[in-house]
Chain length 352, copies 2
Amino acid sequence: MLENDTLLRALLRQPTPHTPIWLMRQAGRYLPEYAATRARAGSFLALAKSPALATEVTLQPLERFPLDAAILFSDILTIPDAMGLGLYFSEGEGPRFERPLRDEAAIRALAAPDPASELKYVLDAVAQIRAALAGRVPLIGFSGSPFTLACYMVEGGGSDDFRLAKSMLYGRPELFHRILAVNAQAVADYLNAQIAAGAQAVMIFDTWGGMLAEAAYHEFSLAYLKRVVGRLVRSRDGARVPSIVFTKGGGLWLEAIADCGCDAVGVDWTIDIGAARRRVGDRVALQGNLDPVVLFSPPDVIRREASRVLESFGPGAGHVFNLGHGISQFTPPEHVAALVEHVRSASRTLHA
Amino acid sequence: MLENDTLLRALLRQPTPHTPIWLMRQAGRYLPEYAATRARAGSFLALAKSPALATEVTLQPLERFPLDAAILFSDILTIPDAMGLGLYFSEGEGPRFERPLRDEAAIRALAAPDPASELKYVLDAVAQIRAALAGRVPLIGFSGSPFTLACYMVEGGGSDDFRLAKSMLYGRPELFHRILAVNAQAVADYLNAQIAAGAQAVMIFDTWGGMLAEAAYHEFSLAYLKRVVGRLVRSRDGARVPSIVFTKGGGLWLEAIADCGCDAVGVDWTIDIGAARRRVGDRVALQGNLDPVVLFSPPDVIRREASRVLESFGPGAGHVFNLGHGISQFTPPEHVAALVEHVRSASRTLHA
């Protein structure tokens, strides 16, 4: 039994006394206690691969702020790492792969990893976090989307335009589809294993889908999001396990995303969330959508802008408050406190 | 009299025998002859500030490809440079300002430059390019948008999130509005001076408007785009001077942009141009929208994707073919040749 089930209820468009709030990357570099744990771990990857330390940092933001959910501390690239691509982090450059997918033989040989053996450290972290949470709030599991994983796998790391990945997509679509098909299987297996280990909701991060042309988005990202969502376990121990799909920059395709079978759609800050609600109707809940940069403003501005999001969504069920993207590492933690407290109190008034 | 006026006609939604094509940043680093001229100039800024060399590089792509327009070779940050902010380019970091706008006194002291004296090198370039073109195709003048200029002026250079600029926008909106009001005056004066010097169409690049929340976009970018467009000279020597507004990432706000008073709206590649056409109706022409990364594919793929854009827009007037963003410096020039030739021939069939 959960002490606070507002997140799960809101994701299923059931009434809640306040609008639940959590923040993408809420366990992370803006918190000094996170920096301390990471220093003890030695590296980001060592931290992410240690279930005990991942549990520690997952709970840190909950000790500071009355957040309505915990999210597994991990990386979106654990799957390709388990596929043998060799994930590493180079200072200032973000994630990279030692062996990016560049030739047909490697693509033909690609296979979905078995989470129970090859991603055991993640499942162990999920189980330990669930135990440590002891029912305070639900735990969200997550994965990168098939397309977003493929971008990194082909490109070998982050990029302004993912030129290599998109060149394969345009020039050798059958090869790119082969990667996506394996990724979709891998993501579904991985999220189902997280659910079996204790995740009470799951989120798929399609970080790079928004840089595609519309037709390409449908063919190379949304089709595989749909495939993943269609394979997800829908309930565990009698409780529904809601799914959230978030394509950053996907505002133009909102109706199509809302039809992918998920329970909730994440929206970035470029769309007015009230307009988004009118477009999706009662098909899905919405999660978002404060501009993360607002958190650099003084608390009165943060409260004003958060109220704008709450009021734009309006009264009624189906809103999970969040940022429109991950929280910046430079965010002052006391500003997060002001945001979380305000969303809690202002949304109580809105729902009363 | 123009030998080829297809661009101007299409921008005014008048019939043309083929769909005109030009490419954002068509005079630039992907061309070896550009690299040679730049090497002679010594630096990008020296090149941009020399009317003779700017004329030379503006005409280079027209020597290679049967493009339907020339666009002034210049930088989007000439205005803040003329305001005294001290534009410079640091290797690998892009444009930067020596004296970004960070304090109230500097913002209060900000004034629109007089183009005739402070941006004379640009107007001289416009006149020289017009003379060199000798009526082959029209010349497009351009400027950054008030908001995009303000982003760089406050931030001091490019940024992933323009944290400083957006913090001022949220926290000190009256200061940010003061910058925007001066910028709107400066951009209108600058574009009108380019028109007087010979520009036959003008384009406003709102490169960063798409990273704003919807309400902020309307208040801090679109309102000032409207102000600029409202002040533009509409015709010269009896010929209409069409205006193009391009907010990258502005697909969600297309109807509002189409109502800003401009003749044409630029669209990036994330929106289907046929859907965009249905949304704007007969209010404006559309310019776009091939994904620039398509140009890394083999010619047959380039032709397929270009046809997809042409066919999505469909028959009838009001389409200017372009990329959805500036051409990459790594693009093979022979792929540009394949694109331009294909758009010319395939669109002739479409319009026949």
